[in-house]
Point group: C2
Chain length 349, copies 2
């Protein structure tokens, strides 16, 4: 084919249109931001060796980088929070997925939820025992069913039918968590009744039994389209029984997300988070009081403390404003900004 003037002009025109489109796209592109947490609680500095601290920070950094890679590729905030949570679910350090604590019966019952800030669609699973990455099952519930929440065996059957990876229950066995269960059972032989104990005392961290930690993990992301997503995943409470469900799989308590307000993921004493509908309360404060994500988070953490609860909240709005607040001595947490700069923290700054 001979290149004629006509061809040349057409090519120039097409190129110009593409260039203009690309520029407009770049102008309209949102900041990309990702925030993660790996649980809040009483983390004693004296039990935190430099090596342990480095391990936690490395895991948080990997979670942030994996999620950020998705955002940089132009993928959705949902993809980013899922990728980040998957890293923490696959690490034995956090009480979610692989590192899940044991129930009283020596099982692992996992909960997770995810929410899309653009559509307000949400998905959650509770009490699943064979799914490697519960947050993937939560996303399948959101995207592949008309439902928001599925529990137990039914949730597993559905997730498996949607291609979610299953693992033998032995996958969740870690020596440390098993010993935690045994210690919890022994301590229960005291004067506390079986169902009347302080959950903080049974959500013992990977650091030491003295460190009362809520081992939930979570992430909130903002993608190039300006869409927010939030996700939370947990292994529940050591020695829990009676099919107890905490806030992590409860949309409005452990997770909430609305492009107009913020994406929110919580970690803490689940019962208080449910009673105050914490995640939805942060969102509603921003919406109805027109206050910042930082102010809203701070107020709700204060109200949580007034009611007797403790834990932490991460939140992110559409402008990229980040809040990471907690009323415990520490919260594993971190952010990655649009330039890929990672900041990770454990204690109060």
């Amino acid at each position: 084919m001979k290149i004629t003037i006509k061809h040349y002009l057409l090519f120039t025109l097409l190129f110009s249109v593409s260039a203009i489109k690309a520029q407009r796209f770049a102008e309209n592109q949102s900041k990309i931001v990702l925030v993660v947490h790996g649980g809040a609680g009483t983390i004693n500095k004296k039990n935190m060796t430099p090596e342990k601290e480095a391990n936690y920070k490395a895991a948080l950094t990997l979670a942030l980088q994996k999620g950020f890679n998705e955002l940089k590729l132009g993928k959705s905030a949902l993809d980013a929070v899922q990728a980040a949570v998957n890293v923490m679910e696959d690490s034995p350090l956090f009480n979610a997925g692989k590192g899940a604590v044991f129930t009283n019966e020596g099982k692992n019952e996992l909960d997770a939820s995810i929410m899309d800030g653009r559509t307000l669609k949400a998905g959650a699973v509770a009490g699943v025992t064979s799914l490697k990455n519960p947050v993937n099952a939560a996303r399948a519930v959101m995207e592949k069913s008309q439902h928001v929440m599925m529990v137990g065996k039914g949730a597993e059957i559905f997730a498996t039918s949607q291609g979610c990876e299953t693992v033998p229950t032995s996958y969740f066995f870690t020596q440390e968590r098993w010993q935690q269960l045994e210690r919890a059972k022994k301590s229960e032989m005291g004067d506390r009744s079986a169902y009347n104990f302080d959950p903080r005392e049974s959500m013992i961290s990977g650091v030491s039994d003295e460190d009362k930690k809520f081992g939930t993990v979570g992430a909130v992301a903002l993608d190039i389209n300006g869409d927010l997503a939030a996700a939370t995943s947990t292994g529940g409470m050591t020695n829990k029984r009676y099919g107890r469900v905490g806030d992590s799989p409860i949309i409005g308590a452990g997770t909430y997300c609305n492009n107009l307000t913020a994406g929110i993921s919580c970690t803490g004493w689940g019962e208080y988070y449910i009673r105050l509908a914490i995640a939805n309360r942060v969102s509603n404060l921003i919406e109805f009081k027109n206050i910042s994500v930082e102010e809203a988070t701070k107020q709700v953490i204060s109200e949580l403390g007034n009611l007797g609860g403790d834990g932490g909240i991460i939140a992110l709005d559409q402008k990229g404003n980040v809040a990471m607040d907690f009323n415990t001595s520490g919260m594993y947490r971190g952010t990655i900004d649009e330039n890929g700069n990672v900041s990770v923290y454990i204690f109060k700054n």
Copy 2:
């Protein structure tokens, strides 16, 4: 013993103190009010025979009277909502307790929740199959455990240990509900995938398959101490599978209660109620925007419709203001005022 002047004076003094106390008590006493719902949905007038209408209205009236009796005796709002919900759970007319619909596997999986507006304490059970009155189990979780939510077998073990009545699964068998399941299964053989159907079409009412009704029941009460309580109970969705959980046992979605704002109980397309955290949203609107319970309920029902959901909300504040709003053609509902006057309704007025 001789009655001396001293005795006489002492008696007079004690009597006066008692009289003053009684008067002060009467002055401080709150209005007592109770509101109930028995489900919202597309209820066609043509399918509602005078006899059926009378049956529903009689059941709602009985629920209101039983709850009101508790309030008149000076008992708590919690006692009143429990008594009212128990009446509807024990009636085959409503999709809760006795009249629960069947799951795809031919079982009955029941959910319920309750919340105390004075303390913000709450309790919930989901997926229980052998408890006669799930709302009683929810109350046991709230009052006798440190938890808010228990699911499945664990919830049953706990509730039974607390004296909640169990029934054989045959108790929940009603010919009409069984036929509904069979019809739902047949209709599912069409082009809809098993987990991709409109829940409204599978929550078929006691009236007719054409009447798409959300068969949740609920109550909100205000007691003489000025305390509010709210409760919700449901049999879920006909033909449901995969351990689907709707909004009824989700604190913040199907039920919320705060003395400072209102008690709220919902009935509707559960997935939308969870995504909007409807009950908590009504409460937060009242708290943060300082609007009335009627305005807040109206706004949230409008937002529910905008998102594509439908159903109803009942709400009651500490001054006795009642809201009963819905965007379906009908909602079984009613109120009883402090003089014992009952008003029950099915269609829009």
